[in-house]
Each structure stands twice: as C-alpha cells, then as structure tokens.
C-alpha cells in the first residue's frame, strides 16, 4: 500500500512521457487526477492508522536490495512521517490545480512534478539510509530541472547554484551515512536497527565527525544560517509551483532528517553538541527575520521568512537535546511543535508563494513598491494575501501559532536562552503587516491598475492550503494525537 502511494506518481509520469500525442489539456487533468488519488490513498491510510509501539512502524514493507552492504528497500510510517507524507500529497495536489492554466510545456511539467512527488514521498517513508539518500538526491535532480526549465529571470544560474549547493549537502549526508554504517555492529544501513542500537556509542570523536557530516548535509537542505545562500535565488527564479514544492516539501527533508536520523541514531553526540544547534537555530530565526524585513521583492521576502521559520524548528530540536532533570515533558512539547511547524510552514508558505506567483503571472514583477492598493481591483486576492500573511506571522487561530507556541514553551522549558529568539516573531509580524499594507491598501497605483482577480483554480489551490492551516489552528488535537507518541519516542531515544 505504502509503495503504491510512493510509486503511483512516477508511473503516471512515465505514462505521460511515453504516450505520444497526449493533449496538453488531458495531461493537466491527468496530473490533478493522479495527485488526488494519491492524496485519497494517504487519507485512507491515515484513517486506518494504529499508533505503532515505540520503535516500530505502521505499513512496513521490506524487500532485499543489497544484502551484502546491509541495505534493503525498507519503508514504513510513524507519527513523524505520516504528517509529512500528507503534507506532500496536499502540496502537490494544490500545485496540480494551480497549474491547470499552465501554457509552457504542460505535459513535461506534469511528468516532472509527478516524478518529484514520488521522490519526496519516498524520502519521508524511507526506513533505510540508502533508500532515503536515493530519494533525497532524486528530489534535487527533479527540482533542478523544474527551476532550469520553467523558471524566469536567470534560471540556469540559480538552478546550477541550487544543484551544486544541495548536492554538496547530500553527499555530506552520504558520508555521514557511511560513517554510521561502518560504525554499526553488525554493519547496516537500516534506520530502525540504527535507532535501536546506535553506532559509535564509545567513540565520541568519530561520532562527532559523523554527526557533523550529517548536520551539515541537513543544514544545507533546511537551510539554516550560514548555509542558506542558495535559497533566495532559487526561490526568486523558480516558477510559482516550483517554489511551493521547494519551500513546502523539500526544505522539510532537512528538518525531518534531524528528528529521524541525527537525533535517534547519534544520541550521545547530539546531546554533546545540542548547544551549537540551539545557537544556529536562534541565529537563523533572527537573521532570517531581519533580512526578510529589508527585502523589496515579495518572493525573496517569503524565502527569507522560510529561513526564519525553519530556525524555530532547529531551535526546538536543539533544545530537545539539552537534557536536564524533569525536562522530558518540555522536550516532547518542543519536538511536537517542530513537526507541527513543518506542516504549518508547508501549508502557509505554499499559499504565499502561489500568491506571489499570481503577481508574476499578471504583471511579471515581484517588486513590492511597484504595486499598491490591490484590494480595490482584486478583493479576493487581497483577502487571501492578508489571511496568509496573518497565518505566517503566527496569529492565534492558525497552525503557525500552535507550532510556535509549542516550540517556545518546550525550548524555554529546557534552555531559557531560547527567549532570545522571541523578537523573531515580532519582526516577522512587522514585515508581513508592512508588506500587506504596501501591496493591498491605498489607491490602486502602478502595476495594480487593472489587476484581474483570482481565478477559480487559483482560489481552490490557495484556499485549500489556508483552510487546512485554519483547521489545524482551531482543532489541533487530531494532528497532535498523531505526532505526540512519536515525539516522545524521539525524546526517549535522545535521552538514553
């Protein structure tokens, strides 16, 4: 079942590529249909999901692949991966709906996005380091072609920078994985085994180096300060739906790696270096917010708020590694908040990037100062942008509030210095309010004159993402019940 969910999109992509004479219109609808079916399958899996015992998985599948190097095709889900699988399916569905009006090579675009969807689902379902790496690397390849093939501005250059930078990260990750393999007795790449019997327990120096390789690889992907420089150009030049997938899904692979790989597999090293992670998290929060404040390009601004939002997650996972007496409750809250933040950021930033894409679609500009008073010609657009902005700054009632509240409650409970990151929320609020004001209020001027409002497919795709953010914000229990057991497993693994 899980493999079907993972591979259905890529099979559909092959069909789209191979079948000759498929019309553009048909391929666009086929894309929507496949993402819809995949999403429905995942909903079904969620409905039938039983919380597995600590250290075990639901929907587990295992197939021999490379027995002589201890690697198998091993997939499965738990409370950490299922929310991200669902997020992936939602984001890609929204992209497919948004792209129903695409004019530029829609068939190839649909195939590429379906391929990327399989790779992304694979990353979150993988329970073997090599399988994880395979999908992780393929997601980079897919994204490269999306930016290079459908981007604007200077796409070739941005795509190259994206590919080189994140490829460096993925190979650093691979080195770390090999280190784990060589350090494990018996040698294995199996994630479940490695979490159960951590490698390199008695070799703190080697464990430190392996952790460094893994953390650098994940930090580049996340991205955290100071490894974030590839992100703004990639986002600025990517097509709207490319940015959505990049921010909504691909960045989560980095943060997911922290809770899935780095923390449970190298608990001693993680505890020793947690203070450094906390510092990186705080710096990312503040730096991302401050730089975002200085942007005049909408897309660059949203990109830098991603650095800020990812910083909260890094802060939370770092704080969860600082073990003190009776801090277990706080640690669990921090991890739960981190996972909720992954989902929340995916939904809200996805919506924001789609809204930015609408600007470019109508006027080929992202310049904040070129627009003004959009509320008059495009009231729906204005309403959606305002809602997305409030959701992103963490207003109560939206998913971001639940996430950030938990992250701060958990982090400050273990590391009081986490307070330093609080101004990040204030700055984000300021920059979103200012951006909304510039863009939406006042008399229509500049490029806003004659701006046509959102079309049905845009309303549906952006609206769905925002509605889900509101649902999580108002009724978070259904999501928290899924995440909390898995978060407590991670806390126990790090604390041992």
């Amino acid at each position: 079942m899980l493999s079907l969910v993972i591979f259905l999109p890529v099979v559909a992509a092959l069909v789209l590529i191979v079948l000759p004479g498929l019309s553009d219109r048909l391929s666009r609808w086929a894309w929507v249909l496949v993402t819809l079916v995949d999403f429905a399958l995942l909903i079904g899996m969620w409905a039938a999901y039983d919380v597995p015992a600590a250290g075990f998985l639901a929907y587990e599948e295992r197939l021999e692949w490379m027995p002589s190097v201890g690697s198998s095709y091993h997939v499965g889900v738990d409370g950490l991966s299922l929310p991200l699988l669902l997020l992936t399916a939602v984001i890609f569905l929204a992209c497919a709906v948004y792209a129903l009006k695409e004019r530029e090579r829609p068939r190839q675009q649909a195939a590429l996005f379906l391929f990327l969807q399989s790779a992304s689902l694979g990353v979150f379902a993988a329970q073997d380091l090599i399988v994880f790496f395979v999908f992780f690397d393929l997601s980079i390849v897919g994204m490269y072609f999306i930016i290079a093939g459908w981007g604007h501005g200077n796409p070739a250059r941005s795509a190259l920078k994206f590919f080189l930078y994140t490829f460096l990260g993925s190979l650093s990750l691979l080195l770390g994985f090999i280190g784990l393999y060589v350090g494990a007795v018996p040698h294995t790449f199996d994630m479940v085994e490695l979490a159960r019997h951590p490698a390199l327990q008695n070799a703190p120096v080697a464990a430190g180096f392996v952790l460094a390789a893994i953390v650098i690889g994940l930090a580049i992907k996340t991205p955290t300060f100071p490894f974030h420089t590839w992100l703004p150009p990639a986002h600025t030049d990517a097509p709207a739906i490319g940015s959505v997938v990049l921010a909504g899904v691909l960045l989560k692979m980095g943060t997911y790696g922290f809770v899935r790989i780095a923390m449970p597999m190298l608990p001693d090293a993680w505890r020793s270096w947690a203070w450094l992670i906390v510092i990186v998290g705080i710096v990312s929060v503040l730096y991302g917010a401050l730089v975002a404040l200085a942007q005049t390009n909408v897309k660059r601004m949203i990109a830098y708020t991603s650095v800020n939002h990812m910083g909260y997650i890094v802060l939370a996972v770092g704080a969860a590694g600082v073990v003190s007496d009776s801090s277990e409750q706080a640690q669990q809250v921090a991890i739960t908040g981190a996972v909720v933040q992954m989902v929340s950021h995916g939904l809200v930033t996805g919506a924001l990037f789609l809204l930015a894409g609408v600007l470019y679609d109508r006027r080929e500009s992202y310049d904040l100062s070129a627009f003004g008073g959009l509320a008059a010609p495009a009231p729906r657009y204005a309403a959606f942008f305002a809602v997305a902005a409030f959701a992103s700054l963490g207003l109560p009632g939206f998913s971001g509030f639940i996430a950030e509240f938990q992250i701060f409650a958990g982090s400050i409970g273990t590391v009081p210095w986490s307070l330093l990151a609080l101004p990040g929320i204030l700055i984000t609020a300021a920059l979103f309010l200012r951006a909304s004001q510039r863009l939406l209020t006042g008399k229509p001027r500049g490029l806003s004159v004659g701006f046509s409002d959102l079309k049905l497919n845009e309303v549906l795709s952006i609206g769905a993402l925002l509605v889900m953010s509101v649902i999580i914000g108002l009724f978070p229990r259904f999501l928290l019940d899924l995440i909390e057991p898995a978060a407590s497993v991670v806390v126990n693994l790090v604390g041992r």
Partner: protein, 483 residues
C-alpha cells in the same frame, strides 16, 4: 591441472583471438561494400566470449597454466564487461565505420586490444602482465591514428611515446620485483616479497603501477587520454576510455593485494587516486569540446576507481565494489559516447544548446549517463561509488572518501555545463561552417546514425537497471581472488 581443462578455462580469450584472426583474414578478401560479414563475426566472437565467461563463473575460482593465469570472479566479471563493452562500441560505431574504408581492420584491432585487456585482468604472473600490456597497447596506437587527421596523428604519437616510456618503467618494475622476490608468479611472489627489502618492493611497485596507470588512463599516465579522445573517431574514443581501464584496474588490484604490509602500497595508490580525481576534474572544468571533456572526466573516474584498489585486502567490500563500479562505469561512459556518436556534428558544448527540443530521447540518455557519472541514484555508478566509499572508509581511508565526495560535487559543475544548455528554450546560433557540413548539420542526424541513437537509449536503460539490480550483482561478484 590438465592442459585440456586449462584450455577450456581460457575459452573466452580464445574466442576473441580466433575472432580477431578470422576478421582480419576475411577483411583482406571481402570487397569494400560487403564488410558487414566481418562485423557480424566480430560481434559473434565477443558474445561467445561473454557467454563462455559467464558459464565459467559458475565453476570454482582457480589458477590455470601452472598459476600463470587466474580464473576467478574478478577475471570473470572483467571478461564479461570487456566483451560486452566492445560489442557496444562496435554497435554505436556502425554508421561511423561504414563511411571509412578500414572497417575490418578496425574490428580486428578492437578485438586484439580487448583481448589484451582480458589478459591484463587475468594475469597471475608478471610476465603475463607484460604480454597483456603490449597486446592492449599496440592495437590502440593504430586505432587512434586511423582517423588520419593531423590531430589524430599527433594523438597517436603522444600515446605511443607515453606508452613506450611507461612500458619501460613497467619492465623495470617487473625486473626489480623479480630480482628481490626470485619469482614472477603471484602465488609465490606474495610470500617472497614479505622478506624482501621494503624500498626495493616499493620501487618495483611504483614502476609496475606507472605502466598500469598508462593503460587505465589515470594520473600520472593520463596525458594521452584527452588528446586521443578528442582526435580519434568516436567509437575508438569510447573504446579507449572504457575497455583498457577494466583490465588495468583489475591488474592493479591483484598487484596491490599481494604487496606485503612492509610496503605502504595503500598510501601510494591513495595519493594516485587523489591526484587523478582532482586533476581530471580541474582540467575538465573549462573544456568546450565534448569529447575532450569526457576524456578528462574519465581521468577523474580512474581516481575514484583506485579507492578500492587502495584498500585491496583491507575490506570485504573492496573487490566487489571495484568490479561493480567498473561494470557501471563502462555502461555509463559508453552511453555518453553513444550520444556523442549519434550527434556527430555537435562537437562543442555550444552545439548542444537546445538539443532537447529536437532530440528529446537522446537528451534524456545524456542526462542519465552524465548524472550517472556524477553518481546520482539510482544509476549503476551510484552503487559503485557508495560501495567504494564504504570500502575505503572501512579500510581505514576515511580521508580518501572525503576527497572523493568533494570531487564528485566539483565534477557535477562541468557535467551541468554540458547538460544545462541542452534544455535551453532557444536553440544554438548556427555557426559558419563549410557548405557540405552545414547542409548535413541541418538534417536531423539521428536518422543517419540510428544505431548510435538506439545504443544510447539501450545504454541509458542498462545504466538504470544495473543500478537497481546492483544488490544481486554484488553478491555474485563477492567471491575473493583466487590464489
């Protein structure tokens, strides 16, 4: 061991030798227009050789002809890869060769050179190693010079001079090893060298390895590779960057494996690997001719391939990873050359601008092969790189793994310099060309080079399948060397 069964064990080599002789004789008598028969015979001889090797691999590992020659998993895989790679080379070169008057001679030389590579891979004695070296080298000089352009003549001369020079160091190295070990047979040499002076063993090893690096096209014997790749015909370029490497690297592995611990052979090979990866990549960075770029890329690939050689005997994964990487590399590199062969008028990176619009399938094959050479999953070289890195780390060479990873990232840059323009939305600006060439370039060349295009597609599929099925292959090639 009896002579009869010994002869049976080298049936794959006999098939290739017999094929070479028959093709050469046939070519002398057949009229120009009817050389298709010799082509067919060459392919059949190679396929028979591959089949015989595969059957032979089901038997136990052993040494034959009084331990002068080795028949084990390593030589079995090498023989299969060499013969299938040569078949692939012949197929991708069909149309290119049909235009030249020297078709049969080319086949005969290809067969002899691949026989030389097989002998290198199987050699269990330093004297056999010399034979293999000469047999693999001499046909190559002729093959490079065959395209008869001034550049090809220069490349052939360069190759010949370097081959002669490093052939002499090979001979000196063998002499030194024989002098201190008292034997040339690997079986006794390993034990004899343990009590020999370490400095002399090191000197002999350096000499022999220098010769093998010429054959493998690795640093320091690499100077001929970019020139020959650029100047020779595409099928010869594909051949000389693939097949000799297989023989030379397996030979290097056998040699390093028998050097006693008193000499730090691993460090020497590690340094050669580092130099090869780094130099090959740096030199490939700003190349504009696609063949030259591929030539430098193969120099860097030898660097990665030397990782398992460095830890020969030090990790269980060393030999399987080397063989897997060799097989994957052969398929991937040949696929890239098949694309080059299918687009004969696209010589520089600029020419490839917008190619994806006109030839989407060839562009796809090139993406698979070039990203494969970087080591992107799920291609064959990815599993090769993964296992060689693991073997290197396992054998105590974690630093070498780090260097290989950094080099892989660097290599991505120049492969992308080639790939990225292909998907550009605007095609290349036509450059002033001689009249006949311009007319040819305007016509879709895929129609005129269907064999090369189809082999590119088949190669790309093989690269992916090899990557996915690598696990099964690893357990097949997991057997240790025969001693």
């Amino acid at each position: 061991m009896e002579l009869g069964s010994d002869t049976l064990a080298v049936l794959p080599e006999i098939c290739v030798l017999g094929g070479a002789i028959v093709v050469l004789l046939l070519g002398s008598f057949l009229p120009r227009g009817r050389q298709a028969l010799s082509r067919l015979l060459a392919v059949l001889a190679l396929l028979a050789s591959a089949t015989a090797s595969a059957v032979g691999m089901t038997g136990p590992a052993m040494t034959v002809f009084e331990a002068n020659y080795t028949v084990d998993a390593a030589s079995g895989v090498a023989r299969i890869v060499i013969s299938l790679a040569t078949v692939f080379v012949i197929v991708l070169g069909f149309s290119e060769l049909a235009e030249t008057p020297r078709e049969s001679e080319t086949y005969a030389l290809l067969l002899l050179a691949s026989l030389g590579a097989m002998v290198l891979a199987g050699a269990g004695d330093l004297l056999i190693l010399i034979t293999g070296y000469l047999l693999a080298s001499i046909p190559l000089y002729a093959l490079i010079g065959m395209s008869r352009s001034p550049r090809a003549a220069e490349a052939a001369l360069k190759t010949y001079l370097l081959g002669a020079l490093l052939g002499i160091t090979l001979l000196v190295g063998v002499t030194v090893l024989y002098g201190v070990g008292g034997t040339t047979a690997y079986v006794q040499l390993g034990r004899a060298l343990a009590s020999a002076p370490a400095a002399a063993v090191a000197a002999g090893l350096v000499g022999v390895l220098a010769g093998l690096m010429f054959k493998a096209g690795g640093v320091p014997g690499h100077f001929w590779v970019p020139d020959a790749t650029q100047a020779a015909s595409t099928l010869v370029a594909a051949f000389l960057t693939t097949v000799p490497k297989v023989g030379a690297l397996v030979a290097a592995y056998r040699l390093v494996d028998l050097i006693p611990a008193t000499t730090d052979a691993a460090l020497l090979v590690g340094i050669l690997a580092t130099a090869g990866m780094t130099l090959g990549n740096l030199a490939a960075f700003w190349q504009d001719d696609v063949r030259r770029l591929l030539g430098w890329s193969t120099v860097s690939q030898v660097g990665y391939l030397l990782l398992p050689v460095a830890v020969a005997g030090g990790s269980d994964l060393a030999l399987p990873s080397l063989l897997l990487y060799l097989a994957g590399y052969a398929a991937t590199n040949l696929t890239a050359f098949a694309v080059v062969a299918a687009l004969p008028h696209h010589r520089t990176l600029v020419d490839y601008r917008g190619v994806a619009r006109i030839h989407p399938w060839l562009a796809g094959a090139l993406v698979v092969s070039l990203l494969g050479l970087v080591g992107t999953p799920p291609t064959a070289v990815f599993v090769g790189k993964l296992t060689t890195l693991t073997a290197a780390w396992d054998g105590g060479f974690a630093w070498l793994a780090v260097i290989a990873v950094i080099n892989s990232v660097a290599s991505l840059f120049y492969y992308l310099r080639w790939l990225a323009p292909m998907f550009a939305r605007t095609p290349a600006v036509p450059r002033p060309q001689p009249m006949s060439n311009a007319a040819e370039a305007a016509a879709p060349s895929i129609d005129r080079r269907p064999w090369a295009a189809w082999s590119a597609m088949a190669g790309a599929v093989a690269v992916l399948i090899l990557g996915v099925l690598a696990g099964g292959l690893l357990s097949i090639v997991g057997a240790p060397l025969a001693h």
